[in-house]
Structures are given as structure tokens and as C-alpha cells.
């Protein structure tokens, strides 16, 4: 029989035992729905967790330190080629904390440029921190200030900001931590949000190069560089506009901010505020800015490993949380297969419904099958007819099931968010039904239905037409 005739006859047969076939189809739909519900829960949770971690800046970042990671612990020294070239670093510098002790390669501005030139790197930025005195309303607050690169705008860390992110990479603007804003508000008797748009003064220690003595020889300038004679520290003021207030903590290494006052990176670099590291700079690498750490923003988490390896090749310490993420993905995969097995169970039960319905249909339509055969139907035609009926039930059940599963998901999502809001938590989307899941759920439903139709179809096909015709 031709496909269209098969479809027509199958459709007619399905309509004739409407109630029974509808119930069977609903059974399949419930099976598919449970499958879709389980899997989309798994996928949604995975996406939520991974998304959170990713927006926290843990997975697209490589955190670079001057010392190869583990060197100070194992005592094996400065790694590849570190020692010879940095002889002067081998002498412990008194007064520096242990993590800054040699052997190590300093992260100079040259290194920063070198790292930024590597493939797949979006940007390389230091985190500059200094002590600042925020003056507003006649009083001062000595607190910490840190730099935030403009690239942080796209990450999730500033999603919950009140007000806005910096308008430009070099803007005279500040974002305050809620704790500081609250403190200011309590003193001035106003609401923290009122600070947005206000101008505050930040007093900070500025480093100023020492003027070269008038009798300096030109070769000394070449040898010592611009700041060759060191610098002096002076108090300086800068006026900035508060544009936002943000809560939360810095998300660990490579995270942004974390201080009470956050300023655009380019502004901080321009301010020339004194850093802890500067003391070392005077001694070790005249003429270059030295950073305690550098954070490399990688365009894609998949490239993190390669970047990390390349940085280690250069003799620096580098680490990322990429491996942790990989393990997490493995956990989710196991979790998903669990959900898949449980979800499939319902579909397996539903497929027994198909077997049952079709076996019943054979009994009921035995005479009809005999007539069909007498009129010239081959065994193949009868088999295909039953097969098509099973397939159509699978298709319809699959489509219904996807809708049902989606609906269940929306319901759970809705209820969960209601609860989250009642607990003063942020609503989350833990439910995700990707298109591939829809397609494969329907395909799987058809496949299972066809498999369930195998036995009834072959039984119907093998029916002896003489006996079948005698059966009324």
C-alpha cells in the first residue's frame, strides 16, 4: 500500500476506537511529559549553576601570579628559567609578605602587553587597590578602593546594581558598596539610594616622580628610566560622581571589585595611587609598573586551558577553575542520565499500553484483517497498517507530552519562584526545554511506539485469512 493510503486507513482505524486510542495516546503523552520534565529540570539546573559560575567570572578567566603555582610549596624554585634571569629576586626582600618572596618573575607592564598579545585574549587587567578617604557631607571615611575594568560590565556581577555601571572606561565615576552607602546614609540621615548622582571627593596617596637632579647625566636617565630616582607620596583629591550601589562580595580570584569604593580601571591608573607593590618597584624594576596579579579575560571558556598552559610556559603562575567546571559538568551528566532513566520508565509503561491497545485491536478487527487479505492485502500491508497506527499514537502522544511536560515545568517554575520570592530570594529559571529536547522527545516517543507496535503488527500480519474470515 502507498504511504498516503496507509495513513488514511490508520487514521480511520484510530478514530474508530477513539476513546481507547485517546487513552493510550494520553498514556504516552504522560510518559513523554515525565521524560521532558525530568530532563528539562536537569538541563535547567545545569544551565543555572553553570551560568551563575560563568557570570561570576570563574570560567573565562586565567589568574596570573608572579610565581609559578606550587613553587613556594614544593621548594623547587622558580620553574623554567625563572632563576637565571632574575638573579636579583633570589635575595629575600625584608618587609614583604611571604607570597611576594622570590623566586618569581614580576608582572611588569611589558608582561601585561605580552599576555594581552596572546591569542583568544579579550583583555588583561590588573587589580589595583589602595586606601582612600571618601569625603562627603563634611566627614571622611577611610576605606578601600579598587579598580574595575570596563569589561566587567558584561558579566553578571553588576546585574543587581542600583543605579548604573560606569558610563565609560575613563569616567570620573564611582560605584559604592552597599555597606559604605548605608554608613554614609546613616550619618547624613538620608536613604542610601539618594547618593546616586552625588559628587564625592576621594582623597588618596598619590605617588609623584622625584624630579631628576639637575646634575644627572643622560646615561643615568636611560638606565633608570623616568622614575629612576623613585617617587614621593602626596595626598591628592579627585572628585567622582556616584553612579551605582552594588551589594555582594568579590567572587574570589579574578572577580571584580570587592572593595568599598570601585572606580574605573583607567581612572585608577591615571590617579597614580600608591600601592603596596610600589615599594618593591623602586628597588627591582625601575621604569616599569609592577602588578601584584593580572587577570586575563579569555574569549571562550574552552580556550582557558590553552591560555593557562601558555602562561605557565612563560614562567608565571596561572590558574583557572576550568577543571572544577569540567568536573561539575560530569556530575550533571550523571545526574541527567539518572533523570533520563526515571523519565523513560513512565514511557516504558506507556509503551505497554500501546501493545495492549493494538493486541485488543487485532482481536476486534480480526474479521476485517481477513477481508483485507482476501481483497489482496499482503502480510506486509497489514503489518505496516498496525505499525503506522502505533507510530501515529507515538507522534501525537509525543507532541502532547512535550506540551504537557513544558506546562508542568512552567507550573513548578512558577511555584518555586513564588516560594523564592516569599523567602526574599531572587526568582530563578530552573526550567529549560531546548528545541533539541523537544525534537528528540518526539522522535523517542515515535521510536518507542514503533517498538511497542512490533509484536502486535507481526501478529496481525500472520493472521490466517481463512480463520479470520470465519470469525465474526
Amino acid at each position: 500500500m502507498k504511504t498516503r493510503d496507509l495513513m488514511e486507513l490508520a487514521g480511520r482505524n484510530l478514530r474508530e476506537a477513539m476513546l481507547r486510542n485517546a487513552l493510550t495516546t494520553i498514556g504516552i503523552a504522560v510518559g513523554v511529559a515525565s521524560l521532558v520534565a525530568m530532563l528539562s529540570l536537569g538541563i535547567g539546573l545545569q544551565k543555572l549553576v553553570m551560568g551563575r559560575l560563568q557570570s561570576s567570572g570563574l570560567f573565562d578567566r586565567v589568574y596570573v601570579t608572579p610565581r609559578p603555582v606550587g613553587a613556594s610549596l614544593s621548594g623547587r624554585g622558580g620553574g623554567r628559567g625563572g632563576r637565571g634571569r632574575n638573579q636579583q629576586d633570589d635575595v629575600p626582600t625584608p618587609g614583604l609578605p611571604p607570597q611576594l618572596q622570590p623566586p618569581m618573575k614580576p608582572l611588569t607592564s611589558t608582561v601585561r602587553k605580552q599576555l594581552a598579545a596572546m591569542p583568544n585574549i579579550v583583555s588583561v587587567f590588573p587589580e589595583l587597590r589602595f586606601t582612600a578617604d571618601l569625603r562627603y557631607g563634611g566627614t571622611g571615611h577611610v576605606t578601600s578602593a579598587s579598580s574595575v575594568p570596563f569589561e566587567a560590565r558584561g558579566t553578571g556581577q553588576f546585574d543587581n546594581i542600583t543605579g548604573s555601571f560606569f558610563s565609560g572606561a575613563n569616567a570620573n565615576e564611582a560605584i559604592l558598596h552597599t555597606d559604605l552607602a548605608q554608613q554614609l546614609a546613616d550619618q547624613g540621615n538620608f536613604k542610601p539610594d539618594d547618593l546616586i548622582g552625588q559628587e564625592v571627593t576621594i582623597r588618596y596617596p598619590e605617588r609623584k616622580p622625584v624630579e631628576a637632579p639637575p646634575n644627572q647625566r643622560p646615561q643615568d636617565i636611560v638606565a633608570n628610566g623616568e622614575f629612576g630616582q623613585g617617587f614621593t607620596i602626596q595626598s591628592a583629591d579627585v572628585k567622582v560622581k556616584v553612579v551605582g550601589i552594588v551589594s555582594g562580595e568579590s567572587a574570589g580570584p579574578g572577580g571584580f571589585g570587592g572593595a568599598r569604593i570601585m572606580l574605573p580601571l583607567e581612572l585608577v591608573e591615571r590617579l597614580n595611587a600608591v600601592q603596596g607593590f610600589d615599594v618593591r618597584e623602586v628597588v627591582a624594576n625601575p621604569g616599569e609598573t609592577i602588578y601584584p596579579t593580572l587577570t586575563m579575560l579569555v574569549d571562550n571558556p574552552n580556550h582557558v586551558q590553552a591560555v593557562e598552559d601558555a602562561v605557565k610556559q612563560l614562567g608565571f603562575g596561572a590558574f583557572s577553575l576550568f577543571d572544577a567546571a569540567r568536573n561539575l559538568q560530569l556530575v550533571f551528566r550523571v545526574f541527567d542520565s539518572f533523570l533520563l532513566v526515571f523519565g523513560s520508565l513512565a514511557l516504558a509503561v506507556a509503551s505497554l499500553g500501546i501493545v495492549n491497545t493494538l493486541v485488543m485491536a487485532i482481536l476486534e478487527r480480526r474479521h476485517e484483517i481477513g477481508v483485507l487479505k482476501a481483497l489482496g492485502a499482503a502480510d506486509r500491508d497489514v503489518r505496516q497498517l498496525f505499525f503506522t497506527e502505533a507510530g501515529v499514537m507515538g507522534l501525537v502522544g509525543g507532541i502532547l507530552g512535550v506540551f504537557l511536560g513544558w506546562g508542568i515545568g512552567q507550573l513548578i517554575n512558577f511555584a518555586l519562584n513564588k516560594w523564592l520570592v516569599s523567602q526574599s530570594l531572587t526568582p530563578q529559571k530552573i526550567w529549560l526545554v531546548p528545541l533539541w529536547l523537544v525534537a528528540s522527545a518526539i522522535a523517542f516517543s515515535i521510536l518507542v511506539s514503533l517498538a511497542a507496535g512490533l509484536y502486535p503488527a507481526s501478529r496481525a500480519a500472520k493472521l490466517d485469512p481463512v480463520k479470520a474470515l470465519r470469525y465474526e
Binding site: 493510503d5 480511520r12 474508530e16 474479521h367 482476501a374 489482496g376 499482503a378 506486509r380 485469512p465 465474526e472
Partner: protein, 240 residues
């Protein structure tokens, strides 16, 4: 109606059986429903197969129809042995070479007449465009052209049997096998049906084999009679 399927150019008889047997196992016993039957039916012949119930006449008809396979012996339709055909070939034989009419009509109750008559065309994979015309033509031949959209239950017994005749005709087979076609009908309606069958035999040149237990009908319509008893042919009757 145009020519029927003409794989009949050969000199072969329409149907020939050689020592055909059909045995059933019934527990430990073997039922010899058809037991060594040899017969020959020429093209365009109208023969009647007579016998009491259980004589094996219906079993023989089913063997001739390709609905059943013989235990031994050969059945040649237009010279081709049905016993050696594959399942698909046998289905094709049932579809294109023979048309069947039953005592209980065997129309599918949930289909309209048009759909019932179209069924053999679907199974034979006849082009969709040709179907409506052929269904119309077949139903017109039995006088039911106006009742295309009726369901079998809305028709009288005679009309139902006429519809099943149309269904048997629609694929233009060369052989018509009728199993007690008037068994469920009153004598006047039965006669009407018999006239149609005679018409097919005479006008379309169809070979007709009719199973009946009514000698009166056999004598009136059939050119030749075969009498069966206990699975064997007992006598070869001649016309009237």
C-alpha cells in the same frame, strides 16, 4: 467495462488442480478437508461446486482463491502454481487475478460503499486519479451508483451483496470466486444477484466458480457442476 486482466492469452486453463490435498491436524486426528482433487476449468467457464456442509467445497474455494495453501498437490492459475508462490505473490494474485464474493458480504461496516469498493484499488496501489472513476463504474454496473456515500448497514442484503460484487470487479480480475453468494438472501434477491454474476460471465468473460448447496441454482446458471463429498470430487456434472 473494458477488458479484464488479460494474462489469459495462453492456452492454459483458467484454473487447474492436480491431486490437491488440504489436511488439518485436529488433536491427534488428521482432517482431510480436501483429499486429492484434480479438476480443470477453462477460460470463461461458469462452474458450480456443490456439496453438503463439511464436504470441503469452501476449503477448495479458499485454495483456489490463494487464501490458503495446499498440503500437497498443485493449483495452477493461468499455468502458474499457487503452491510455489511467495506470500507477496499470492497477495498480488488475490488482488489482481481473482475477485471474491462471500455469503455474508464482508463489507467493512464503518466504511461507505465508495470506500469499500475503493479498498482493493488502494491495496493494488492504483493511481488516486483513476480510482473514483473505477469505483463509480463498478457501482454503476450493479446499479448502486447513487448510493456511494451510504454505509452497508443502510442497505438491504441484496444491495450489500451487489456492493460486494462491485468490490470484486473493481480491479478487473479474470476469475470470480463466489462462496454461497445467495445464502443470506431471499430467492428473489438471490436471483437478482445470480443474474449479475451471469452477466459478468457472459459480458466480461470472467471465469466463475460458485460454491453452493442449492442444486437448483447450479443447474440453472452453471455450465458444469462439481460435486464434493468428504474432500473428494464425486462426479463431474455437465450442463443441465
Amino acid at each position: 467495462m473494458p477488458e479484464t486482466h488479460t494474462d489469459s492469452q495462453t492456452n492454459q486453463p483458467a484454473l487447474r488442480t492436480a491431486e490437491v490435498t488440504r489436511h488439518y491436524a485436529m488433536g491427534a486426528a488428521t482432517i482431510r478437508a480436501v483429499d486429492g482433487v484434480s479438476l480443470e476449468i477453462a477460460h470463461g467457464e461458469f462452474v458450480a461446486l456443490l456439496g453438503t456442509s463439511g464436504s470441503g467445497k469452501s476449503t477448495l474455494l479458499n485454495l483456489l482463491a490463494g487464501l490458503d495453501r495446499p498440503t500437497s498437490g498443485a493449483i495452477l492459475a493461468h499455468g502458474i502454481n499457487l503452491a510455489e508462490m511467495s506470500g507477496d505473490e499470492l497477495a498480488q494474485y488475490r488482488s489482481l487475478t481473482v475477485g471474491m464474493v462471500f455469503q455474508s458480504f464482508n463489507l467493512l461496516p464503518r466504511m461507505t460503499l465508495e470506500e469499500n469498493v475503493e479498498l482493493p484499488l488502494r491495496l493494488a496501489e492504483v493511481d488516486r486519479g483513476d480510482r473514483a472513476g473505477r469505483v463509480q463504474e463498478a457501482l454503476k454496473r450493479v446499479g448502486l451508483a447513487a448510493r456511494l456515500s451510504h454505509r452497508p448497514a443502510e442497505l438491504s442484503g441484496g444491495e450489500q451483496q451487489r456492493a460486494s460484487l462491485a468490490r470484486a470487479l473493481v480491479n478487473r480480475p479474470t476469475i470470480l470466486l463466489a462462496d454461497e453468494p445467495t445464502g443470506n438472501l431471499d430467492s428473489r434477491t438471490g436471483e437478482e444477484i445470480m443474474n449479475f454474476i451471469q452477466q459478468f460471465n457472459q459480458e466480461l468473460g470472467m471465469t466463475v466458480i460458485m460454491v453452493t448447496h442449492e442444486p437448483r441454482l447450479a443447474e440453472r446458471y452453471a455450465a458444469r457442476q462439481f460435486h464434493m463429498k468428504d474432500g473428494k470430487l464425486s462426479a463431474n456434472g455437465d450442463a443441465q
